[in-house]
Symmetry: C2
Subunit: 340 residues, 2 copies
């Protein structure tokens, strides 16, 4: 089959690789219907050292079950499914608590920008979709694999609810879907920090009440002006760079919560008296346990009450995946759908 | 009046200073009945640069109201009161939310290791005690000013409750009262990390089920062994040094909460993918809003169901306050009561 493989920063190639086959009795093979490029793929696209063997790319996909191991009884060939970006057994203590990203049997998919994917723990991982594979809802359903559930995780862990003000740091797909999620959970005031008008316009459509284009200290000052000097109760950090973290702690209200869902591109950061401790700021977030959220989020997508798929503003054939990376890297595209 | 004044690391003197008088209509003057030395005083005792003017010390006290400004109507001369370590108006939005340490009118007391204290916002700050000033309950009531409410804040913000396991990092007065608080909130498994047997024995009396004397990587390994490799759902960090933070994030379970109440002696710390983000760890805590907790904690103290005053293992006259600092610094005393 054909698959996108990264060989180093800026070097994505589409190649012929071995077809996946079930290896364990709990595996399935899924033929990919649609996949996409993630902001976290871009972190690699910008910084990955060259590797001779290459790294199969992609962890978000909707597809059709083609083959299953002996122990997979809840899925059958022909089922249309969405996969969380990480697989998990969905039976261990951590999964039962809704923390699928910490499942000891789990791992993050790679190789979904391809014609087919091998899915470990298929029954614990895949969720059947009650639509046809040519449904117009597919882009929105695909966001359940990562970006929508990530934005939702930010809003849930931050404790967004009616009466709480929210700042969203970052106007990428996750930031915009954090806006949508905060709105869905009842936030009335949602300040979106981003400077790309096309993106922040979509943010307004998703529910942002204010847009702050300034960055750094000016951006912090602007959010504080908008909130009577106080900052917002909750801040959803959807970037992952240190300056975004510093902005987040700069705009959070005393006693408030910063939830990080952008994968941190740093290890050390300020959490001392003047930044986090003194104001009783809570820092939360992490990789979203997608599997625990899909059932809750699916009905609104199926019934059209939310349209998270609007974050896709470009679509490429699998053979043109490298072009998708280039466009997202250059910020010409917000999020690129890949169709085998 | 006489008062303890710090002139630099290791240099505490008891001197004659001006008597406090009400300056604002909302002030009161309180004659001190008992005060004490705090772990945070010790941070200064170890590191404060020499200053010519000196720093009045002490922020925990029980006393008798002696004089009040015109606008203080809820308190009268002769009332026995306990003061939170920080004063606050108790009427602003942040106070009403229970975040008195962020009150714009607030501040931290200094000068309570003295014969009397000037109390701003007296009515919002002081809480009357229904006992006499020679009550045997006074040491326990004095812990409400800081160390008991700090331990309680750690347990509350961490979400300690029945079914949740807890590790307490640190066997100082706050750590031991974090144990007591975790027990009071229903934690069944409480692992106390500390290596001073006299203190950890008191920790067991307060409710610790396990004691881990090892520190650093060995201590982390030991807690993980005790918890089937997982760590505990909640960790209460009651020290404030970076190694205690690193221990805390080392022993917390995936999806768990680290609450810091030891004043951080660092600004930068690891919060990246491998330490905090990847496991969806929440970091919370901060200075305890004492005033919001006293009503809840007072009945158990008055009725003898808890005895937090057991953390006091030495008492000195005000004139011998420097000896109290020396004994705590040398770890000969856990916490020293000061009586004018």
């Amino acid at each position: 089959m054909r698959a996108a493989v990264m060989y180093g920063a800026g070097d994505v190639r589409v190649e012929t690789v071995a077809d996946p086959k079930p290896r364990e009795s709990t595996d399935a093979v899924v033929r990919v219907v649609s996949s996409c490029v993630c902001g976290s793929d871009l972190h690699l696209y910008r910084s990955m050292p060259a590797v001779p063997e290459g790294l199969p790319m992609g962890h978000e996909f909707i597809g059709v079950v083609e083959d299953t191991g002996w122990d997979v009884t809840g899925l059958k060939s022909g089922d249309l499914v969405v996969a969380p970006f990480s697989y998990a057994d969905n039976t261990c203590a951590l999964c039962r608590e809704g923390l699928h990203t910490s499942c000891p049997e789990g791992g993050i998919f790679s190789g979904a920008q391809a014609e087919a994917v091998l899915v470990p723990h298929a029954e614990g991982t895949l969720v059947r979709l009650p639509v046809e594979e040519d449904s117009a809802l597919l882009p929105s359903l695909l966001t359940l694999a990562d970006v929508y559930t990530t934005g939702h995780h930010a809003a849930v862990t931050a404790g967004v609810r009616p009466g709480k003000t929210t700042t969203v740091v970052g106007d990428g797909a996750v930031g915009l879907l954090a806006v949508l999620s905060a709105r869905r959970l009842g936030a009335e005031r949602i300040i979106l920090m981003g400077r790309h008008t096309g993106r922040t316009d979509l943010g307004r459509r998703f529910g942002a009440t204010d847009v702050v284009a300034e960055r750094g200290p000016e951006g912090i000052e602007r959010v504080r002006e908008l909130t009577g000097g106080e900052g917002t109760h909750t801040v959803l950090e959807a970037v992952g760079h240190l300056d975004a973290y510093e902005t987040a702690v700069g705009v959070v209200r005393a006693g408030g919560v910063v939830s990080r869902v952008g994968v941190p591109q740093y290890e050390q950061a300020p959490i001392g008296f003047s930044t986090v401790f003194g104001g009783n700021i809570t820092l939360t977030g992490g990789p979203t346990p997608v599997r625990s959220y899909i059932e809750e989020l699916l009905p609104d997508v199926l019934e059209g009450r939310v349209e998270p798929g609007l974050v896709f503003d470009r679509s490429v054939d699998l053979e043109r995946t490298p072009e998708g990376y280039r466009a997202m890297h250059a910020r010409e595209a917000l999020k690129v759908l890949v169709r085998p």
